[in-house]
């Protein structure tokens, strides 16, 4: 082996990164070659110098500085992570819970507000006799939906609705529903429809009936003022008690109390005054409250 080849391998020889055969050859050469032996020792000395180099110590603030930057780096990363994953893992349930809460709250508010709405509607219903019949149609329709299997979410809403509305009309102002009831009872299918009502409802009705009754009458006349006086006179004759008289542009409403036994007589008298819309008088007992609406006859009706 040439000296140049040997010297090329001395570096690896020092590191013991050569094959045993090569090592043997180099060892053999070194014993005879002065130049190569010096080269080897020079290299060993060089490496010694390098290895004697002392490690430098990191400054004490290095870790803190690195970590400050890392934390700064980690923060926006978390923001991105939040954006990417929170909607999937955490935000969605929160949203779902929020939607559920809103739904529940809305239902609750709807329920609590409903009675007030009904109460404000009450006076207008008293005046218009056709309203009860509408009510009649509406309520059974709702009740009929009850047995139909519906979605569980909808069920409480629909199932409770009729109950709520009924309770509202019967509890604070017992007379009006009764009056409606009595008026509409003889109409076709009314009794049958009644059966469809819930037991709770009919029981409440029965209780209300035992108390004071109330009916509405409408007479069509030519002269409202004269008719009003006539009606008042008729009431007086029958020992009726006028509660109040309300005058409007084309109509007058007289509310009065009258013995139910004299009611037929009263209506006969009314028939003399004007055109009376027939109402049901069956099953009335004791004193009843009558509201007589005197309406001016429209020209085209004559």
């Amino acid at each position: 082996m040439e000296c140049a080849d040997i010297q090329k391998k001395l570096s690896a020889y020092i590191d013991d990164a050569i094959s045993p055969e090569e090592r043997m050859l180099i060892d053999e050469h070194l014993t005879s070659c002065q130049e190569c032996s010096v080269s080897l020792s020079d290299m060993r000395k060089t490496l010694e110098y390098i290895q004697k180099l002392e490690d430098i110590e990191p400054p004490p603030w290095l870790t803190q500085k690195v970590m400050a930057r890392i934390r700064l780096e980690a923060k926006p990363k978390r923001g991105i992570l939040q954006k990417l994953f929170y909607p999937l893992h955490i935000k969605l349930p929160i949203e779902a819970a929020a939607v559920f809460l809103i739904a529940v709250a809305a239902l609750y508010i709807f329920k609590t507000i409903q009675p007030e709405v009904k109460l404000t509607q009450m006076p207008s219903e008293e005046m218009k006799t056709q309203i009860p019949s509408q009510e009649k149609d509406r309520i059974p329709a709702i009740v009929e939906t009850e047995p139909v299997p519906s979605k569980p979410a909808e069920k409480p809403l629909f199932a409770k609705k009729p109950e709520v509305t009924e309770r509202v009309t019967e509890a604070p102002k017992a007379p009006p529903p009764v009056a409606k009831e009595d008026e509409t009872r003889p109409s076709a299918g009314a009794v049958a429809k009644d059966e469809q009502r819930t037991e709770v409802l009919s029981r409440a009705k029965a209780m209300a009936e035992r108390k004071e009754e109330r009916i509405s009458l409408t007479i069509n006349v030519k002269d409202i003022k004269t008719a009003g006086r006539e009606v008042e006179k008729a009431l007086m004759q029958l020992n009726g008690q006028i509660i109040r008289t309300e005058s409007f542009e084309n109509r007058e409403i007289i509310t009065a109390k009258l013995d139910s036994k004299k009611l037929k007589n009263f209506i006969d008298k009314l028939k003399l005054i004007g055109e009376v819309k027939e109402v049901a008088l069956d099953g009335l007992e004791g004193n009843i409250e009558i509201s007589i609406e005197i309406v001016k006859t429209s020209p085209h009706l004559q």
Partner: protein
């Protein structure tokens, strides 16, 4: 040294997986563990303590950013040292461009490294003269290392200062082991010549 690295590998892997889940504290443990060696690699490559510190910081930050992409095929430390080597190379290029532009004024300290003086721990040696001599030798060695071309310097730093195996160096520099061997041979000869010139005799 190699054995020690392998023993600590499992420890790192655990911390690395914690880091992958965004555990900053786990990363701090890794920083504390590796910062000294990182700094020494960077310092011997660049020759400036301040620049080395900056490079180490940058290396840790980019390691943290890229830790999710780190596959456990390589050792974490090897991966980390690869980053610091690459960043040191970049820093050297920047410094070269900078020094070219400034056209090295006479006031520029040539190969001086005051930081080495400050960081050198007080040794047990009694004589001030001895200490000065030692410091002088270290300075000269550092100067010679710095005078090497980048490729040679890298293998000297990794093999003769940091005692990495040929295999590990091959991994870090992404070169075959044969190239490591030949580069090392060349680097050691250059260094030997330089030291001979600087110190008169070895």
């Amino acid at each position: 040294m190699k054995e020690k690295e392998q023993r600590t590998e499992d420890e790192d892997a655990q911390l690395v997986s914690l880091c992958k889940n965004g555990d900053v504290d786990a990363f701090e443990v890794l920083v504390k563990k590796h910062q000294k060696r990182m700094l020494n690699i960077a310092y011997r490559m660049i020759g400036s303590y301040e620049d080395a510190c900056e490079v180490v910081q940058d290396a840790f930050v980019s390691a943290f950013k890229g830790i999710k992409n780190f596959e456990e095929r390589a050792k974490f430390s090897t991966w980390l040292y690869t980053i610091v080597i690459n960043l040191s190379r970049n820093r050297l290029k920047q410094l070269e461009i900078k020094s070219h532009r400034e056209d090295s004024s006479l006031d520029d300290p040539v190969f001086t490294d005051d930081s080495q003086i400050t960081v050198e721990p007080a040794s047990d040696e009694p004589s001030v003269l001895e200490r000065l001599k030692k410091r002088d030798v270290q300075k000269k060695v550092q100067e010679c290392i710095h005078a090497l071309d980048n490729e040679s310097r890298e293998v000297i730093v990794l093999r003769d200062i940091q005692n990495f195996s040929y295999d590990e160096i091959s991994d870090m520099l992404k070169i075959p082991e044969g190239t490591v061997k030949s580069r090392l041979f060349r680097a050691r000869y250059s260094l030997k010549d330089c030291l001979k010139n600087v110190m008169g005799d070895l």
